[in-house]
């Protein structure tokens, strides 16, 4: 019997101790009318057969050359990361409620929180949320709790923020009457401009969201936007890519021109680039950091360093009075289980790379995307959409619909980017492309050669 250790003798002895004749007697409190019949499930398989099935299924999906980013990024993952994260002591442990028997996980989370504070320039970090999109939803809810100067529950959400994040924030925050209002982006530069928000001055607004780099890969003038928000008592929610923070000004240092109020108020984002595989979209992890001033409004678990009864340092979950198991309906969030194992991987990743290695990854990604954009925009019918400086993504405009072009590329084993036709129809035939440090010159050449052939063939056929 799979994973059931009981022998016939064991069962007989145990039933005798309990005082019943058969295992089924243990279910005699379930009304007979409700008892289930036989389940229509496939028969059991051994590990070898399951392994074969899964290997066959995996082979169907293959290993294409990927140039899609759009919120999930392919980076090299050092071998130690998952070799250690999948050790049973991390993999099969529960949330560290028994602190003395969970010091490994707790210390690791404390180290993680410290590293996230270093990357974001913020004072405190939580132990993770589910993913980047739901982290923004939680940040919106937190902003409503934290901004006592505002009663409106209105949050400005630029269109240049990942549109899926907006959808998720609406699903999660919408039931609490929080309104997310769009701010348009500048068609020429691809950024949210100060001018676009300035018309909202004087209105009661709870928070402004700024994504840096934004969904198009463009870099905004974050200092001006942060100062504008603070001038009008609006909280600034920063959505950032943690790899980019090796090079970019950390949100904790944005702005600073208004009453010395330096930095974003809440920082969140998708942690996946830090050692977590693409894996069809999950599991990833969301991160969140804030000012110490707002720590009691932050959702999710937080680990603190304290001392034991002998005065030695140790770690435990703290500020639990914010959480659902204590505060019930008054909790900051209903979140309980988070994404602990992904945080384990990210912490090992950041330790291996350090600030120098992470900067090398970010710089190589920046350069590879610049190389990719240069190579592709040399092709007839391909132009660059936006003028703003970029990190590691770019929007390209084609002279024909992107979908058939992408399908043709996919047949050659190349994922050529994300078609923006549904998300941003006003851009025409737009394609969001990404190259990280994992792409070599030969990869970029393969993509450019294939795209040139496909575009030329399409033109010839037309």
């Amino acid at each position: 019997m799979a994973f059931i250790p009981h022998t016939g003798d064991d069962i007989a002895q145990m039933l005798e101790v309990i005082g019943v004749r058969a295992i089924d007697d243990l279910f005699d409190e379930i009304p007979a009318a409700l008892r289930a019949g036989a389940l229509a499930l496939p028969p059991a398989m051994g590990e070898m057969e399951v392994g074969r099935l899964l290997t066959e299924r995996a082979a169907i999906d293959g290993r294409p050359l990927n140039f899609i980013g759009a919120g999930a990024y392919e980076h090299h993952i050092p071998a130690p990361v998952w070799a250690i994260a999948t050790r049973g002591e991390f993999y099969s442990a529960y949330t560290p409620y028994q602190a003395e028997a969970s010091q490994g996980t707790l210390q690791l989370i404390y180290e993680y929180q410290s590293m996230m504070c270093g990357l974001t320039g913020m004072e405190v970090s939580n132990a993770s949320l589910y993913d980047g999109a739901s982290a923004l939803a939680e940040a919106c809810l937190m902003a409503v709790r934290a901004n006592r100067a505002s009663n409106s529950r209105r949050i400005l959400l630029p269109r240049a923020v990942n549109p899926t994040y907006g959808q998720v924030a609406r699903t999660i925050a919408g039931n609490q009457d929080i309104v997310l209002e769009h701010v348009d982006y500048d068609r020429a530069s691809g950024r949210t401009l100060l001018e676009s928000v300035e018309s909202r001055a004087g209105e009661d607004i709870t928070a402004l969201v700024v994504q840096q780099p934004n969904f198009f890969g463009c870099l905004a003038e974050v200092d001006a936007l942060t100062d504008w928000a603070h001038r009008h008592k609006i909280l600034l929610i920063a959505v950032v890519n943690p790899v980019s923070l090796a090079l970019l000004k950390p949100p904790g240092q944005w702005g600073g021109g208004v009453d010395g109020r330096l930095g974003a108020d809440i920082v969140c984002g998708e942690g996946q680039p830090l050692g977590v595989p693409l894996s069809a979209g999950g599991p990833y992890f969301g991160f969140m950091a804030t000012r110490m001033q707002y720590v009691r409004q932050m959702p999710g678990r937080i680990v603190g360093r304290t001392v034991d009864t002998e005065g030695r340092p140790g770690f435990s979950l703290t500020l639990q009075a914010r959480e659902q198991h204590i505060r019930r309906s008054k909790a900051t969030s209903n979140i309980c289980t988070n994404q602990g194992l992904m945080v384990t991987a990210a912490t090992i990743y950041l330790s291996l790379l350090g600030s120098e290695g992470l900067a090398r990854v970010a710089q190589a990604s920046l350069q590879r995307t610049a190389d990719l954009v240069a190579a592709l925009s040399r092709i007839k019918g391909v132009t660059v959409a936006f003028s703003a400086p970029r990190f590691h993504e770019a929007v390209l405009l084609l002279d024909r619909p992107a979908a058939p072009v992408l399908a043709a590329l996919a047949r050659r084993g190349i994922l050529g980017g994300l078609d923006l036709a549904d998300r941003f129809p006003e851009l025409g035939h737009a394609l969001l492309v990404c190259a990280t440090e994992t792409k070599l010159d030969a990869d970029i050449d393969s993509y450019a050669d294939a795209l040139a052939e496909i575009m030329n063939a399409a033109r010839a056929a037309a």
Binding site: A2, F3, I4, P5, H6, M14, I18, P31, R35, A36, L41, P42, A44, V50, R57, R63, H76, G88, Y91, T95, E100, A101, Q103, G104, Q107, L108, Y110, M115, E123, A133, I172, Q176, D223, K249, L278, A280, G281, G282, G304, R305, D308, T309, R312, L319, E323, Q324, N334, C336, T337, G340, L341, T344, T347, S351, L353, G354, G357, V361, T369, L418
Partner: protein, 494 residues
């Protein structure tokens, strides 16, 4: 005593930052230098590098391996944590979910037919096991599954223009996420008591329902470790009042193949795949909180869902389900966790699935009986244990001033993870014990023997308990100091 498996965990490990030395690095992890002139404009660049450790690859490997050795886990210790279903996580589930093709799948690439075939079959299997009409795999943990469930209930009432239904009824013993979720969905919470047998108080339920009732949230078996006898009556009362029934799947392990939530009258259920279907807890996630619904809530399921057209699988989106409550994650939830659950279910198959509940119940009832025979008091002595049960230490507390916390900490010294303590809150000095079906009789006996030894220590040497644990990397921690003198991040000495 040697048989009890006492093992001290490794002692201490400095912070990774204390191992750090400028100029040191794990060089082979650095990407090659790329020629080129691309750069970030100066005013958008960071001025100083982020505070991250600078260590060698071996230092990092050794440090995190050592930290792992400071944990209890299922792979190393019996872990009877009530309500958490800490069963064996088969290695095959991890190995085959981590095939490079699966790990490399970009979520926005062409719809991956091999992967989606697994997800489609997982939806079908979960639907069959729970007796529901549709399943969405997107919620990323139990609490998000609860959120999806309550949001669907709200959407259902709204679609019928029944706008005043915003009250969620929960029994007092409910898990804290139930009321927290109701609040997150903009609902109010009404708590109702349980009777002396641990069942819902029917009188209180009748008084609580009305035109404002959106739903009742229940676990069955309940958090008290017993099967709700009167579930059919509860369902009738709530449905007649115009409300829906929400099944919190935290305890689904107890009833797999024996009774299905859909057949009990539930309209919506969330499953904790990281409990019942054995995906790992990972030291606090990732979980997966798939939701199943009956016919009434089908149009409101969260997206995306895997659909099938002829031989092809595809993601169903807003276009297919215009009344959906929407998206809950950036892509499709914790896909890799769902894949592990799929592998687990294929390994068990229909024969294995029924045995889960049978042997979980056998282990729980055996351990309960042995502990009762040894003099421990069951909270509900006249009831069968489900897959878990509650022991109350209120007499021990009175006689020896020993608390459930003391016993929990002392168990760690015996190499046994503590049961859940002080939950549910309404049973004084309680231990909620869930052995799971994958533990052998010898491990249950060892736990029972340790409890007997601890009971003797209460009388002969109570300090063994009040000062426990003695063999862990740290003694009991000062939680008050942790919350008052907040130290949440390491900072280099100035």
């Amino acid at each position: 005593m040697t048989e009890l498996g006492t093992t001290a965990l490794k002692a201490r490990e400095p912070l990774i930052f204390e191992l750090s030395k400028p100029g040191r690095h794990a060089g082979s992890q650095f990407p090659p230098q790329v020629a080129g002139t691309a750069e970030i404009p100066a005013h958008l660049r960071r001025a100083t590098p982020p505070m991250l450790p600078a260590v060698s690859e071996l230092q990092a490997v050794r440090h995190y391996t050592r930290l792992s050795q400071m944990n209890f886990s299922i792979d190393t210790h019996f872990y009877p944590l009530g309500s958490c279903t800490m069963k064996y996580n088969p290695k095959a589930c991890n190995t085959y979910a981590m095939l490079p093709e699966f790990l490399g799948l970009h979520p926005l690439g062409p719809e991956p037919q091999g992967f989606l075939a697994c997800m489609y079959e997982l939806q079908e299997m979960l639907q069959e096991i729970t007796g529901m009409k549709g399943v969405s795999l997107t919620p990323m943990a139990g609490a998000q599954g609860e959120f999806a469930g309550v949001a669907m209930i709200r959407a259902y009432h709204r679609a019928r223009n029944d706008l005043q239904r915003t009250e969620i009824i929960v029994p007092q013993a409910a898990h804290g996420t139930n009321p927290a979720t109701a609040a997150m969905c903009g609902c109010t919470v009404k708590e109702i008591p349980c009777d002396a047998n641990g069942d819902v108080d029917i009188g209180a339920l009748k008084a609580a329902v009305g035109p404002g009732t959106a739903a009742i949230m229940l676990t069955n078996p309940s958090t008290l470790g017993v099967f709700e006898h009167k579930i059919a009556e509860v369902a009738r009362i709530v449905h007649e009042a115009g409300g829906l029934l929400y099944y919190d799947g935290a305890n689904l392990n107890a009833i797999l193949g024996k009774v299905r939530p859909g057949d009990m009258g539930f309209d919506v259920i969330h499953m904790n795949l990281h409990k019942t279907f054995s995906t790992p807890h990972g030291g606090g996630g990732p979980g997966s909180g798939a939701v199943g619904v009956g016919a009434r809530l089908l149009p409101f399921l969260p997206i995306p869902i895997v659909g099938k057209e002829g031989p092809r699988f595809r993601w169903l989106s807003e276009r297919d389900l215009p009344q959906s409550i929407g998206r809950l994650s950036g892509f499709m939830g914790n896909a890799g966790v769902n894949l592990r659950a799929y592998i687990y279910m294929r390994l068990l198959g229909r024969e294995g699935m029924v045995r889960v509940a049978e042997f979980a119940a056998l282990n729980a009832n055996y351990l309960l009986k042995r502990l009762q025979d040894a003099g421990f008091e069951a909270a509900y002595p006249n009831r069968r244990a489900s897959h878990e049960f509650i022991v109350t230490l209120k007499s021990e507390n009175r006689l020896y001033q020993i608390t459930a916390m003391d016993v929990a900490k002392r168990l760690l010294d015996y190499g046994l993870h503590a049961p859940t303590t002080y939950f549910p809150l309404l049973v004084p000095e309680c231990l909620l014990i869930e052995p799971t079906e994958t533990e052998a009789k010898e491990d249950l006996d060892r736990f029972c023997d340790a409890m007997i030894m601890i009971r003797r220590e209460m009388q002969e040497d109570p300090e063994k308990l009040t000062a426990a644990p003695h063999t862990m990397p740290v003694r009991r921690l000062d939680d008050v100091r942790a919350a008052k003198q907040l130290d949440l991040a390491w900072k280099p000495a100035a």
